[in-house]
């Protein structure tokens, strides 16, 4: 979230799209309802299916799965055509006035630089022009035909109401209703926010779904303000915390970049990822990248990391250039027999991974499998799953019992980036221990073996700092957290140029803010964004529970610690005009009072940008200091474009000749079958969770009260389609894709209605992904036996939300 849960109450219009907030974030949903109570906020739900969320919204707009960019592209078109954008904001705080390089172009669904064989772009032409001083050129009138604003306008002029309606299946009337209502927030005293979740990320265009909304929010001046922003509703699995701490293969902690083979020296690596800006008004905060990265290396290797040995950079693993290592790649390689062993910690990929049939076959190729979990699950039991002969399986499987979340102390991060300390509520049963402790024990043993026997490339293992146990030899969450925060490794004098003060910190004190981190090896920090979660003297700010709310906006600055530096709304300087006066004085998030900012923790101490000498632009993490309407960081193009899902009902993309996202990786294994626009599989299918279960259901299916409430697999099917197929409510049906099939109970409903798409009627159905064969025995198997192995072009988040099936009476 750019903002946080309590802040949603400050909104005037809440677009819930790509989320079923009431069902999956029931506690968060109260803040959405509070916005209605306090401000009369409109709550709009755009979703293929009418859900429990729709029931509490002002209205529901059904949309065909996988067509969000078309829907939102139409909104960009509407905003520009009808002059609904917030001009002062767009001109000053976005790259709308910047001039796009002369060789950049877009034709028939492709941007310049496409290589069809590699399915990748060369981005050399995706650049913004700079003047002789190296500063981006601007046309503040936004009239230059090559300025970002005009290019954006031209790009989305193709997303006409007729076109969008025909792609999405949304009526023109509904499109206009949402567009006009939401774009009414493009004024200084109104705020609109967007709540999304897996409904946007689970697509081959997932990242671009979100970026399209980011463009809308920038156009309407909704970023950095109270009640605005783009809010990813993340869940109990601690998704926020796990991404902050690099669950994604391409990241190091704190969203630093993973090392790759071609960057074989620290110097090359830091040069590549440390952005440079010649614009004196751009803070370009990532110019501090070396401080964050070297401090990370110091946290890994402590005094073994020295300037002479590149702080241990050569010891760490490097990814092959241009190769992805997502979960889908992992199982793809495993299926090819190239993976020998797997640690499957706190997950159940035999149920939760796309194309689960392939995943289950891949597991058979392993020599060994280690599970760490609180319950047994379908992954650890794959060797005796449906259709598997245990005698023919060579894999040795270990299951280590783990303690559950309430059986251990530690930190947990919510979607609003609040990192909250939690305490142990109960002892774990039997031999169960925290997974952190398992990791310590395993690594202790590995270190011991290396010390005794030696081995290939021993340095990273022998030099690893590894003292995270308490006096009883147990995993010490506090010690780990302090290491993540970081330490001064020698006496250090910190000079604050703005305030003209100096502070001396002693060796061994904790780093109170990432602003104090150094690139010379004198500080450590396991994750720079968490620096400041402790005070220098060791007070754990994550334990703070103050309920003061000085701004009245629900920032609660004394409740827990929010990264970065306890800032509650990021990009908050954009809530003020260029002189630092709040655009909306009724919701004063921040104000420049002549010599300092008052309100939330500002995005940097500098004066507002009207001060040409000392002032800075508000988007300090962007190299150019402004929000990116033109976003060359994305792999499939600087402007989001509609492409059909890998498997859909159409043979031709109504927008261009490019049917599917040109930049996605196509898996070509024998089990990676695809059936686009096939008569055999005529219905669009989507998968989701339900309130009563959690993820693969591997934890909740064992809970009798929850299982009683949602006992077994079902398919929601519209009453019109059911009638056509002769399916009665409660009857058993078989749902098949080209990859597999499941049997389940039909839930015939008026909540799925057919779409009119390109002149034909398209039905959509949906199933929950919470069930698996292990337990309950009669509960049905995983819906991921149906889903394809394909993911977002940037993140490889799988496309669970749009593929094609058939439904028949069982």
């Amino acid at each position: 979230m750019t903002n946080h849960y309590c802040d949603i109450k400050n909104s005037d219009c809440i677009l819930i799209m790509g989320s079923n907030a009431a069902e999956h974030h029931p506690i968060a949903f109260k803040w959405i309802l509070r916005a209605r109570e306090l401000n009369g906020a409109k709550i709009i739900h755009v979703d293929p299916r009418y859900t429990r969320t729709s029931a509490r919204c002002d209205y529901h707009v059904p949309l065909r799965s996988g067509t969000d960019i078309a829907f939102l592209g139409g909104m960009i078109h509407y905003i520009i055509e009808n002059n609904k954008y917030f001009k002062d904001y767009v001109v000053n705080y976005t790259n709308a006035p910047f001039i796009v390089g002369p060789d950049f172009n877009f034709q028939d669904g492709l941007f310049s630089g496409y290589d069809p064989e590699k399915r990748k772009y060369n981005k050399d032409t995706w650049v913004l022009e700079k003047d002789d001083a190296g500063i981006p050129k601007r046309d503040m009138t936004l009239s230059d035909p090559r300025c970002v604003f005009q290019m954006l306008k031209a790009h989305y002029s193709r997303y006409t109401l007729d076109k969008v309606s025909s792609i999405t299946g949304v009526s023109k009337e509904n499109l206009l209703k949402v567009y006009s209502e939401y774009s009414a927030t493009g004024v200084p005293d109104k705020a609109g926010t967007e709540c999304y979740a897996l409904g946007w990320t689970h697509h081959t265009v997932g990242s671009q779904n979100i970026r399209t909304m980011a463009i809308i929010q920038l156009l309407l001046g909704n970023m950095g303000i109270a009640g605005g922003g783009i809010n990813a509703l993340r869940g109990e699995p601690n998704v926020q915390g796990s991404t902050d701490h690099c669950i994604l293969y391409g990241n190091l902690p704190g969203y630093l970049k993973m090392h790759v083979a071609s960057l074989d020296t620290l110097e090359k690596y830091l040069h590549k990822y440390t952005p440079e800006s010649k614009d004196p008004q751009s803070a370009n905060y990532y110019s501090n990248y070396p401080k964050f990265h070297v401090s990370f290396l110091k946290s890994m290797f402590d005094d073994k990391a020295t300037a002479e040995n590149e702080f241990g950079y050569p010891w760490l693993p490097k990814l092959d250039d241009g190769v992805a290592y997502s979960l889908m790649h992992l199982f793809d390689k495993m299926y090819e027999g190239k993976v020998k062993g797997l640690f499957s910690v706190a997950n159940d990929p035999a149920v939760s991974s796309p194309n689960a049939g392939k995943v289950r076959k891949a597991l058979e190729k392993l020599d060994w499998l280690v599970g760490e979990n609180i319950f047994n699950n379908e992954t650890y039991e794959f060797w005796r799953g449906p259709g598997v002969d245990p005698k023919k399986i060579k894999t040795e499987v270990f299951l280590l019992p783990a303690s559950a979340t309430m059986e251990k102390e530690g930190s947990q991060s919510n979607s609003g980036r609040w990192v909250q300390w939690k305490y142990k509520a109960a002892e774990a049963p039997g031999d169960a221990i925290p997974v952190g402790e398992m990791t310590l024990k395993i690594m202790d043993a590995v270190k011991e073996l290396y010390a005794k026997e030696g081995g290939v490339h021993p340095e990273p293992i022998l030099n690893l700092k590894w003292d995270y146990t308490d006096s009883k030899g147990r995993f010490d969450a506090l010690k780990v957290s302090k290491q993540i925060n970081g330490y001064f490794l020698q006496d250090t004098v910190i000079e604050d140029k703005a305030k003209g003060t100096t502070t001396t910190f002693k060796k061994g004190q904790l780093v109170p803010t990432f602003g104090n981190l150094q690139a010379d090896g004198s500080t450590s920090s396991g994750n720079w964004i968490m620096a400041g979660s402790f005070t220098a003297d060791g007070e754990n700010k994550m334990m703070k529970r103050g309920k003061e709310d000085p701004t009245g906006l629900g920032l609660f600055p004394n409740w827990s610690f929010a990264w970065p530096v306890n800032r509650r709304v990021i990009y908050n300087r954009a809530s003020c005009d260029i002189y630092g006066k709040p655009y909306n004085p009724k919701r004063k998030l921040l104000e420049w009072v002549g010599d300092k900012w008052v309100g939330d923790v500002p995005d940097g101490p500098w004066p507002p940008m009207a001060d040409k000498e000392k002032g800075k632009y508000p988007f300090i993490m962007k190299t150019d200091g402004v929000g990116a309407l033109f976003g060359p960081g994305m792999v499939e193009g600087p402007f989001p474009e509609h492409y059909e899902p890998l498997e859909g009902p159409l043979t031709k993309n109504p927008m261009s000749s490019q049917l599917i996202n040109p930049a996605i990786e196509i898996f070509k294994g024998e089990l990676d079958k695809v059936a686009n626009a096939s008569e055999k599989y005529p219905y669009v299918c989507t998968t989701y969770s339900c309130t009563e279960h959690w993820c693969s259901g591997a934890l909740t299916r064992w809970q009798a009260w929850l299982l009683e409430a949602m006992p077994e697999l079902y398919i929601e099917i519209g009453d019109l389609l059911a009638k056509e197929k002769g399916i009665q409510n409660g009857q058993r049906v078989k749902v098949s894709s080209i990859r597999g099939s499941v049997e389940c109970v039909a839930m015939v409903t008026k909540r799925f209605t057919p779409f009119q798409v390109e002149g034909k009627t398209v039905h959509q159905v949906g199933l929950p992904f919470n069930y698996g064969w292990l337990f309950p025995k009669d509960g049905g198997d995983s819906t991921n036996l149906l889903t394809p192995t394909v993911g977002d072009a940037n993140t490889f988040c799988p496309e669970y939300k749009a593929f094609m099936v058939n439904v028949e009476r069982a």
Partner: protein, 265 residues
Amino acid sequence: MKTEFVKLIDTTLCTACRGCQVACKQWNEMPGLRTKQWGSYQNPPDLQWNTWTLIRFQEYAPKEGDFKWLFRKDGCMHCTDAACVKVCPSGALYHTEYGTVGLHHEKCIGCKYCISACPFDVPRYDRATDKVYKCDLCYTRLQGDQQPACVKSCPTGALTIGPKDAMIKKAYARVKELGGDANVYGDKFVGGTHVIYVLGEKAEVYEGLPKNPSVPVTTVLWKDILKPLSLLAAGGVVAGSFLHYIIHGPKLPDEDQGQDTKGGE
């Protein structure tokens, strides 16, 4: 009597998360039983001995206006003029000091008269224990100045509890704010219930919700006329037999409510 309490169920704020349904089982230590998916989110399909509160799901497509998915938390209404208390021969059902209807399980003789009498079809019989079960609005929690488990668990404020007058006032204010067909349900019949609804639609739209609930005539006959007479008369047995006839009439409670298989949407 202490302060009379009323629990307000605002159906227009309910997201049907069923936190209340589960919290009720947790606090009252009721087991979860194996159910079947029967084509509905509503499960168990009906109130049963181990399910004292239940979210009812109903798809409603009015002739005019938008489709709606209605959620109604069902359970004991805690009537002032409570038919169950009137007919209970053993004193198991009683009015608490909060005006709610409590249940002394040790006194329940499993006669099921309350089941027949209840205008809201709430009490449920369990053959294994030969007793009747229903919500007691978390009597022991109220005694400990705690909210009922369902109210405590509600994330959106759809469930609230407080002194009777204040809650009724709140309900009417909410209905005024909502406008349209929104209405207050519960304060105008059976002497006023201690669970009242803010309904988004007219009462008759909701399946299983009686439009004008009342204490059955037969119950009134027994409680207010025949019972006093029978106590006087030596032939009490005769009166008792007559009572059994008039109470049960043609309606017999289901003996096997543990696994109700009632169909429908």
